[in-house]
Symmetry: none
Subunit: 203 residues, 4 copies
Amino acid sequence: MPQVTEKTRRTPRQSRSEATVEAILEAAFQLLEADGIEALTTNHIAERAGVSVGTLYQYFGGKQAILAGLAHKRAEAARDRIAEIVIAGPELGAVRLIVRTLATAFEGSPATRRALLDALTAEGGDDVVMRNHVTFFDMIAGKAALGFDLSPEAGFVLTHAVVGLLRAATIESELALNPQALEDELVRLMEAYISALLVARSA
Amino acid sequence: MPQVTEKTRRTPRQSRSEATVEAILEAAFQLLEADGIEALTTNHIAERAGVSVGTLYQYFGGKQAILAGLAHKRAEAARDRIAEIVIAGPELGAVRLIVRTLATAFEGSPATRRALLDALTAEGGDDVVMRNHVTFFDMIAGKAALGFDLSPEAGFVLTHAVVGLLRAATIESELALNPQALEDELVRLMEAYISALLVARSA
Amino acid sequence: MPQVTEKTRRTPRQSRSEATVEAILEAAFQLLEADGIEALTTNHIAERAGVSVGTLYQYFGGKQAILAGLAHKRAEAARDRIAEIVIAGPELGAVRLIVRTLATAFEGSPATRRALLDALTAEGGDDVVMRNHVTFFDMIAGKAALGFDLSPEAGFVLTHAVVGLLRAATIESELALNPQALEDELVRLMEAYISALLVARSA
Amino acid sequence: MPQVTEKTRRTPRQSRSEATVEAILEAAFQLLEADGIEALTTNHIAERAGVSVGTLYQYFGGKQAILAGLAHKRAEAARDRIAEIVIAGPELGAVRLIVRTLATAFEGSPATRRALLDALTAEGGDDVVMRNHVTFFDMIAGKAALGFDLSPEAGFVLTHAVVGLLRAATIESELALNPQALEDELVRLMEAYISALLVARSA
DNA sequence: GATGAATGAGAGTTCATTCAT
DNA sequence: CATGAATGAACTCTCATTCAT
């Protein structure tokens, strides 16, 4: 049974280890893109990465951990970019920029995106986006003059509405939605909600 | 390899067949609740249902088809209930009632709910909720006087925002969100969005 | 991890199943003799038996269970033979016959004998010889006019002295002990002990 | 593959080396007690001992060698104590003292005792107790006035009856034998046998 | 001498699926 | 229609051991 709980077995300190970890993640991403989640096995990943399975298991607890590692890297990058946006504080276009950042956070084919998104939620709480959603959106909320008394539920809705819709859009590829139009609607949704929160607050 | 494409092999007409199908679905649901998705195997389901694996394969194309069957039963029930709500036309509370119906559509533990939700999306387009979202929300849209020129993207957002958020809420069980407060926020989100759509339309 | 606790997964009722079980045990014995315990794998056993691994796992919980099955078959046969000896009641030679029966209970090479003996003890209490030693030796004890108040410890010594020595003799093959002389000494040991017990009892 | 043949690679003379060897043995013993033989790996031992695996392999030929080292330490201590007993020559109680010494030779849980006992026999002839059993019991035999013409088989029985029974008693822990009563029976067994040997000799 | 990252053969095991009965 | 014994490809994961640093 895989050790899902313990993501990293050996925290790499030396450059050789770091390169190995990087090679494993890169190999996993390539295979994911090429053959899909079904064909993604630890043996294949190790082979493609040019290391032995044993080495792979030295750094990752199993397939899920690798997927999670891949997803986290992207999620963190997205979060950093959003943080920059908020700090830079382009008053009006902030919501649109954030939506756009999230929409492009996960590179790769729809199937890959879905796999990574699932890996994030499969961890059950270790999800960076989720775990940090309060801190994260407090920043936005502060910028938007909502103050800090955003309820957990409102924060949750603010965070997950966009991510959830992007997830759904990724899966529902055959609907052939217009990305631009979708972005417009997402922005409309978020701005309408934020306005409603502001109104409720001032009441 | 499971036959994802062909969901039902034999459409039951006789009562004995119906009972068998029912027993299989019920067995699957019980095992899902009791042991989780990991322990859910066709052999176990057949055993619990009191039929042989062979018989199970006479009615279902495989594990995924069973899960999908389970999910569809719920999804259809939810859709029917929502249709009634819309027809009954309780002007003001409609959005809230719909949200509530969706929130309670899937019984069972969070893990079970997630598994069923995933089964729905895993089908890749056969999803009743998704496939019918235009028809479905056109009804709502009509009631709400939005007219029929709801863009596909707006319809998509309208449908999936709620479902996606409920999905996220189900998974993120440790956040311990207040169901009532969450419902309030969902209603706020939807009503704000609908208003925004109305405003945009009239402009 | 193998399911050591649950020896048989499917109790065979039909002749086909019985033949399969028999084939597996026979294959295991042959491989044990030919290549030793190290080379004994479930895959090899299945191949040699002419069945698939899956089938093997339908009947046995794993390698240990197969070994245990093999050992039990022999142990039971030995016990039956000893029971016959006691019932037949050849007054003087009984001890020698019992010793001889135990000495020849496990066919095969020393390594095989050791493996089977170990499998018996590895079960931790399910061992037929051990578990039944009281019942078993009460019969002998009765014959020997010791009565039924044989202490558990005396019964234990009676049972295990011979088995333990045979085990040791099997392992210590390089000592090249003379089987006949060893048998003589074992008989001497047992008869001396029984006499001592009788003396103690009459005192 | 473990190098069973070559037990020690480097015989330590310096104190640092001795400390390392000691740390490894101690670590192995602790892990054996805590987690059982299954969880005992060279990597774990090295980690617990505070050395690298490489260092471990500098001093021990492998896992078996470590286990053997552990067992030998105890076996040698027991032999020395028994030698003292024989030399001290307390005529009547000697057998009882020897039995008691053997019974307490291996500290630790039953599982640990079994593992160490097995390590001793697994060496296949390098076993100190076994290899030296003639020399060893000749001393006792001499003391007991049996002379030097003790047959190898009688010597074997003399040595292994006690050890084998203690092994069996260790494994069969659920029988909950009374240690004192068991000791009594072992003494009875040995004294009866020695007497029988004496009688046979004088005949 | 010490290190510890890397190895990799191969073990055990699962389970969706088939098809002869 | 039902059965369930049989299948077997494929998977995850271990761990004793080596050797370049």
